[in-house]
Structure formats: C-alpha cells, structure tokens
C-alpha cells in the first residue's frame, strides 16, 4: 500500500527547526511553517501564536492539492511555487523535496525577491534532511520497528481515549 507513515525524530526535528529559524531571520519573515502534503503541521517558527496553525496547515495543503490538480490538467507536473499577495501580508508557498510544503508569511519589511532567494537555499537543506528522514524510517521499519510507541497499546488504552 502506498501509505508510508511519516515519522519525525528528535534529531531531524532540531535540524529542520534550525533551517527554518535561519530562513525566518534571513528572509525577514513573520512566520514560517512546514506542512506535510496531507495537511499536517510539521513545525512552525516566528509569530506562530498569532495564527491558527492547524487550519493554516490544512488549507495550505488543500491549496497545493488544488493547484496541483490544475497543473496536471494543463500538462504540468506541479506548480512548485505559489504566491499570494495581500494588502499587508503575503504568502510564499513552495514544495520542498516533492513532499513537504514550506509556507513563508512576510510583510513589506521583506520582499518577494528576497524571500525567493532565501527559500531556494533553505529548500535544498530541507530536502536533504527529509531524504535522510525517509531513509531512517525505512531502515527502522526493516529492522522491525521496536521503538514504535503503539506496538504495546491495549484495547483498554484505546477505549480510555473515548471515556
């Protein structure tokens, strides 16, 4: 089944956050989010508490999915960059390594040119980290995922969730 579980470990989580923290500064952005293509928030830095991050993640993924559908209709593989311009704030959305979405929110203290430039560099770094992550979880899976937290849950654990 084409349904590999995305797994994030501490080490890669730190690395990912370092990259987007740096991008936040270098691009003069307000907030940066990393979202998985299915709409799950992976991480966020900057003024994250001002935003409903869960909704943002889901809508971003929907947006990418919809424009991806449009791309296919006109014979493109995907649109790897989307830009939404607002009166004050702008969104720069790009696909990293084919499977994660990088969302940069910025205002007039930055510029599209700067964001584009910095995103390009960070994207390469992020791609490498996610590649490593995929290999790591594949490897662990082959070894039999003994560190998987759910292997030992009982029916009671599950029922308790709903009590």
């Amino acid at each position: 089944m084409s349904n590999p579980t995305l797994v994030m470990y501490d080490e890669e989580f730190r690395e990912v956050n370092e990259v987007i923290e740096r991008l936040l500064k270098e691009a003069n952005a307000k907030v940066i989010f990393l979202v998985d293509k299915n709409g799950q928030l992976i991480s966020g830095v900057g003024e994250t508490e001002r935003f409903d991050t869960t909704s943002l993640a889901s809508l971003t993924a929907g947006n990418i999915a919809a424009t991806g559908g449009l791309a296919k209709l006109i014979g493109e593989k995907e649109f790897s960059i989307l830009f939404h311009e607002g009166e004050k704030d702008n969104l720069h959305i790009s696909i990293v390594g084919g499977r994660v979405i990088l969302v940069v929110l910025f205002d007039n203290r930055s510029s599209l040119g700067l964001v584009r430039l910095r995103v390009k560099k960070s994207s390469e770094e992020l791609s490498t980290i996610f590649e490593k992550l995929m290999n790591k979880s594949e490897e662990r899976e082959k070894r039999g995922s003994s560190d998987f937290p759910f292997a030992e849950i009982t029916d009671d654990d599950i029922d308790n969730l709903f009590s």
């Binding site: 349904n3 994030m8 299915n38 709409g39 999915a65 599950i158």
Partner: protein, 195 residues
C-alpha cells in the same frame, strides 16, 4: 498516512467522511464540533457554496487525549458529495487513514449511495489504496425519515463485506460519536499492528 512526531510526541491521523450529496457528512462534523470541549478541538473550516453545499472540504481537527505519552490527533474531512466534484474528492482522499461512508437511508437515494460507494472504491484505487484493507465504517444516516429503507436492505446493498455499521440521525447526533469512535479505534488498531 498517519504522521508520528517523536519530537513533539504526537500522532496525527486523517479520517474522511464520504457519501452522496446531501447524505449528511457535513452535519456529522457539525455535531461533533458542537459537542466537543473547546480544548479538544480546533476551528471547523467549511469550504462551501452559498447554499451550504460542500465545495472542496470541511475540516475539523480533534485531539482525543494521550496514549502511552503520545497525543493522538484526528483530522476529520468531508468530501463534496455532488457527482461533478469528483476531482476534489480525489484530492481529499490523499493520505487517508480511515473512511466513514455515510449513506442516505431514504429509498430514493439508494442509487446515489451505490454510485458514491463505487466512486469511493475507484478513487481509492487510483491512489493505491484498497477499501477492503483500510479502516472503514458504514453509517446509515437519516434514520428519522419516514422514507427510510430497512437496515437489512441497506446492508445488503451497501455493506457486502460486513464492516462495522451504525444507524444515525446526524441532525440530532444519534450514532454520530459511535461512528467516529469506531473508525478511530480501527485506525489505532492498524497503527498498533505497525502496518
């Protein structure tokens, strides 16, 4: 595709409510939203037409609590049931961990139910999923209406593989949480198997 984050100790799963137009998918989510404590839910997002038909999706994030120190979160989505929104339905099925098929119990909707169920199978297959291998629940909704078919008849037409099934009235909420719990449980059992 569930997402397990060891760093923040979270598990995220995606549940999709599928079914023909007007069968009550959005109403299911609205009821869950109304009856969930504020700290356990996020905002419900509905991308709908002016006549409140789902245009792209409804989205409701829930956090159910912890299992073995991991926060379990479920992201509930509905698809637009109207036939011509098929392209959108395919997009929403991406990365699905569990499916609820909401059937409209009214006799005059039986063909629409059958068509939607076939459409679900086809669309899943396109993404490389097999409905028979996914956590999957059937809900017979609108049991309150006088024109409702018997559950036996509905079962014969819509649930030949005998997956767990529930009767519901989404407007009053009967059967709504039972359905959600059942699919969430199947997903967690699947995760436990570490498929």
């Amino acid at each position: 595709m569930s997402f397990i984050n060891y760093a923040s100790r979270e598990i995220n799963c995606k549940i999709v409510y599928y079914g023909p137009g007007l069968c009550g998918k959005t109403t299911n989510l609205q009821f869950i939203y109304q009856r969930t404590a504020p700290d356990a839910k996020g905002k419900m997002i509905s991308l709908a037409t002016e006549t409140e038909r789902t245009l792209f999706f409804d989205f409701l994030p829930l956090s159910l609590g912890e299992i073995r120190g991991f926060k379990t979160r479920f992201h509930l989505y509905t698809v637009p049931g109207q036939v011509f929104y098929d392209a959108s339905r395919k997009l929403i099925l991406k990365g699905v961990d569990g499916v609820v098929f909401v059937a409209d119990s009214q006799e005059e909707r039986i063909d629409a139910n059958i068509e939607s169920l076939e459409n679900l199978r086809i669309n899943l297959k396109e993404q490389g999923y097999d409905l028979d291998k996914l956590p999957y629940i059937v809900q017979y909704n609108k049991r309150d209406l006088p024109g409702a078919m018997s559950v036996d008849e509905l079962h014969n037409e819509l649930n030949p593989t005998n997956v767990p099934e529930f009767e519901a009235c989404a407007t009053t909420g009967e059967g709504v949480f039972e359905t959600l719990k059942a699919v969430a449980k199947l997903i967690l059992i699947d995760l436990k198997k570490g498929k």
